[in-house]
Symmetry: C2
Subunit: 112 residues, 2 copies
DNA sequence: TGCAAGATTCTACAACATTAGAACAATGAG
DNA sequence: CTCATTGTTCTAATGTTGTAGAATCTTGCA
C-alpha cells in the first residue's frame, strides 16, 4: 500500500462523525450510551447481540442514534468504503456492514 | 482521550505531504530516496545518523527534500504538534523534533 | 552592528469537505 | 397495486484546508 492510500484511510477517520460511525461498526455498539462513558469515549466491548466487526441493519441503527440526515450518513458510509475500511451490502431490508480487518491491520503495521 | 482527539490525530495524518513529514520523523529518514522504493512507500528503518523517533535539524532537512514552501511546511509541523503527534524545539540553529510515542501508542490501542 | 539564513505569521484564495433537502429507486407489507 | 420505509444521488450552501508570498522575527557569524 502506498503513502497515498494510508492518507486516504486517515482522512476517512479524520471526521468525528465518520469516526463515530466507524467505531460503532468496529466495536459493534450502536446505542448512543455506548459511545460515551462520562466525558470519555468508550465502547461496550462485549455485547450479546452481535459479533465484533460486522453489523446488520447498520445504516438504520446508526441513523437512529446520530443527529445527521440520511443523505449525510450515506455519504459517510461511502467514504469509509472508498478508503477500504468497511464493506457494505444490502440484502433485502438488511444492510450488512463488515470491517475490513486487513486494512485495520495495515494501519497498525504502518505505525509499528 | 476523547473521540474528538482521535479524529484530530487522524486529520493530522490525512494529508499526504504531512503524513510524509510525520513518517520522516517517525522512521527517521530524510532523503527522498528513503521515502520511495519503486512505487511503494517505504523507509530505511536503520540509519546511523540518528535514533528512531527524533530528528535534529528536522525542518531544514525536510524542506530540502520536499517540494513545498517553507511556510507550508511550518504550517504542517504545527498541525502535527497540535494533534500531539510530535514535539519540536529550537535549540539555536538546531531544530529538534521528537515523536510523541504515547500518542502513537494510543492510536494502536484505539484500534485494538 | 549588520547581514544572511532559518523559521513563523499573516493574508488571500482555490480546492475540497460537510451537511441538508428534494427527487428518485428499491423493497416488503397490507 | 399502493404505500410507507429505506437508502442513493444530485444540488447547493456553508465551512475548512492546503498552499504560496510577503513581511516579520530569531539566531549565529563576520
Amino acid at each position: 500500500m502506498k503513502l497515498k492510500d494510508y492518507a486516504k484511510i486517515f482522512k476517512a477517520l479524520s471526521n468525528e462523525q465518520r469516526l463515530k460511525i466507524f467505531m460503532m461498526i468496529y466495536k459493534n455498539c450502536c446505542t448512543p450510551e455506548g459511545t460515551k462513558v462520562g466525558s470519555e469515549f468508550r465502547f461496550k466491548e462485549e455485547s450479546a447481540c452481535c459479533v465484533k466487526g460486522s453489523l446488520d441493519k447498520a445504516f438504520t441503527k446508526i441513523c437512529d442514534c446520530m443527529n445527521l440526515s440520511r443523505s449525510t450518513i450515506s455519504h459517510h458510509f461511502k467514504e469509509l468504503q472508498s478508503a477500504g475500511l468497511i464493506a457494505c451490502e444490502r440484502d433485502g431490508q438488511i444492510y450488512r456492514c463488515k470491517i475490513n480487518e486487513e486494512v485495520v491491520d495495515s494501519i497498525k503495521d504502518f505505525l509499528k
